[in-house]
């Protein structure tokens, strides 16, 4: 009985309304803002978990630090259905082509979150077999440092991705600048 009382007392949170003109029965705003708001609250991540950071990600997805409340309820293991590629853990040189293939299979718009020191820069493994940062092979949007980062830091990274998603122009993926960046990585 106590539980239901608490639920009815707490205010229900809703997403913030973007700026626009309001009237009786209509709300006018720009398409970019609406699409941004919809996208940011429903990011479907692809957890590319390789090592220890993967266990911290599992803790982030768990009940204590729930990632699902940010809209990432459905983890997609198929790149075709995912928005955000979360690379968590060390990427060895043997794994590089696999990561590249997974990234190329994702449909636009796609974002990449590099979780952990190993994915960002090679971490403590400055060795011949470890790729010194995934940004050598794919473009990265947000880096989350840590070894492994606390779940709060991973959530902070997700929130920064949400800022990027919300404020992205609808035409960005077709712009010449973006295409030039992809060409730098050799991705078509």
């Amino acid at each position: 009985m106590e539980r239901t009382e608490n639920i009815s007392k707490s205010p229900v949170g809703m997403a913030e309304k973007p700026d626009g003109y309001e009237g009786a029965g209509f709300f006018a705003t720009s398409l970019e803002k609406v699409v941004g708001m919809a996208r940011k609250n429903s990011i479907w991540p692809l957890p590319f978990a390789t090592s220890c950071c993967g266990i911290e990600f599992m803790a982030t997805m768990g009940a204590h630090y729930d990632l699902a409340r940010f809209g990432s309820e459905r983890l997609s293991f198929s790149p075709r259905q995912a928005d955000l590629l979360m690379v968590m853990g060390t990427i060895a040189k043997k794994m590089g082509p696999v990561l590249r293939q997974v990234y190329e299979q994702m449909a636009e718009p796609r974002w990449v979150l590099s979780v952990g020191a190993c994915a960002s820069s090679g971490g403590i493994f400055d060795t011949y077999s470890v790729l010194q940062g995934i940004d050598r092979i794919i473009p990265v949007d947000v880096y989350v440092p840590g070894c492994p980062p606390r779940p709060e830091q991973i959530i902070d990274g997700i929130i920064k991705i949400q800022h990027l998603v919300e404020n992205e122009s609808l035409r960005r993926r077709d712009s010449a600048e973006y295409k030039a960046m992809l060409n730098k990585y050799g991705i078509e």
Partner: protein, 402 residues
């Protein structure tokens, strides 16, 4: 109809078309990064070819570059689900090389931490077995319990997962009252949840149908593949390093070694489940019998002196400098020390030539050794059974590749 019969007459019976399924390096349920190319006859598996090395981080070469105290963070990342066991195993190896005497209190505290780590490792494995049979709720509940253990680790060493716990010679400080409070709280709350989780799966019709007589291995084959740990005990061999070569005062504690009979997935699940109960009992015994004493051994060449002495005492300052720069004198020799990790006998073969870094450090990784038997274990079974066998063997990619 005669057309159908003529078709049947034409099909050659020996030329079977096998299909190849790539259970690729990235697969759901985050078991780890390794690849299996399965040769399938419909839904049955005829052969499997594993490929590993997708997370090879060259630990052994890295260890030749780092002084002894700096190797502890590397050992964390071997079996990262139970990192304290690896750390303490490495510390014990160096202490064996130096020939130091470790106080009883340190040994008991180490036992408490190692058994907590063993519980967390088995929690993940059993929760993942549940997930692979469809019981997703157990996973969420078990990860909540891991959070309690993470808080205990944080009180002791500051980190959650890759703990780098303790030092060569003991601990940097005694456990604080808050840590003891959290340990007692854990000992009160955890058995209730563990019992709930066990009741969810132990006599569950679906779980038993999916796991009994799946992925089995006989004791002889398991021994010839050098299995160790819960996988070997599920096959029926009672080899446990804690009992065979007791280290860190394990001989003072009273616990049983659970063994299975068939070596199948159900036996492995139950062995791990029972080991968690035994670990809880060991922790209780260690807390009850905990002796007083120093929390570190007298190893001035390896153990950082307290900061007040470093600022006031010349000798302590010199020791501090030498230890941090790794310029301490280390005896020459070769030593092998093994501990009972979450997966089995985790061994450290250390050759020292007197320099500040090891000459050769080989990690005897149980996962790497018993994963070889995987193709043999899944021959003739269905694809879903292969997934279940893989998750029940508790293959951790960090330990597989090193």
């Amino acid at each position: 109809m005669d057309t159908n019969e003529s078709l049947i007459g034409q099909a050659p019976p020996e030329e079977k078309q096998y299909s190849y399924l790539n259970l690729g390096p990235t697969h759901p349920a985050t078991h780890g990064i390794f690849q299996n190319v399965l040769k399938m006859d419909g839904e049955k598996i005829v052969d499997a070819e594993p490929t590993i090395g997708y997370i090879h981080r060259a630990f052994e070469k890295l260890a030749e570059r780092r002084p002894y105290a700096q190797i502890t963070p590397i050992t964390d990342r071997l079996n990262y689900c139970s990192a304290p066991i690896n750390n303490i195993g490495w510390h014990m190896t160096v202490e064996k090389l130096l020939g130091t005497e470790i106080p009883k209190r340190v040994q008991y505290l180490r036992v408490i931490i190692m058994e907590l780590a063993r519980i967390t490792d088995h929690l993940i494995c059993n929760a993942v077995i549940g997930v692979d049979t469809g019981a997703l709720t157990g996973f969420v509940y078990m990860f909540q319990q891991r959070e309690l253990v993470y808080e205990i680790y944080e009180e002791i060493c500051g980190a959650r997962l890759t703990t780098n716990i303790g030092r060569i010679g003991g601990f940097e400080r005694d456990f604080s009252p808050k840590a003891w409070a959290k340990i007692h709280q854990f000992l009160k709350e955890f058995p209730v949840i563990l019992k709930e989780f066990e009741n969810l799966l132990k006599r569950n019709r679906i779980f038993m149908d999916r796991t009994i007589a799946v992925g089995g291995i006989t004791a002889e084959r398991a021994l010839s593949y050098s299995f160790s740990g819960p996988n070997l005990r599920a096959a029926g061999v009672d080899y446990d390093v804690r009992v065979a070569d007791p280290y860190s005062s394990y001989e003072d504690f009273d616990f049983i070694i659970p063994i299975g009979s068939n070596g199948d997935v159900y036996d492995r699940f139950m062995v791990r489940q029972e080991e968690m109960w035994q670990s809880l009992s060991i922790i209780k015994q260690a807390i009850d019998k905990l002796p007083d004493g120093p929390y570190h051994a007298k190893v001035p060449e390896f153990y950082l002196p307290p900061k007040e002495e470093v600022y006031n005492n010349m000798e302590a300052l010199i020791y501090h400098f030498k230890i941090v720069m790794g310029e301490t004198d280390i005896p020459k020799g070769e030593v092998y020390h093994c501990v009972e990790g979450g997966n089995g006998e985790l061994g450290f073969y250390l050759i020292s030539d007197g320099g500040r870094t090891p000459f050769r450090l080989q990690f005897r990784r149980p996962c790497f050794i018993y994963y070889q038997a995987y193709p043999e274990m899944i021959k003739g079974s269905m694809l879903s059974d292969a997934i279940l066998t893989m998750s029940s063997m508790n293959v951790i990619a960090g330990e597989l590749d090193a």
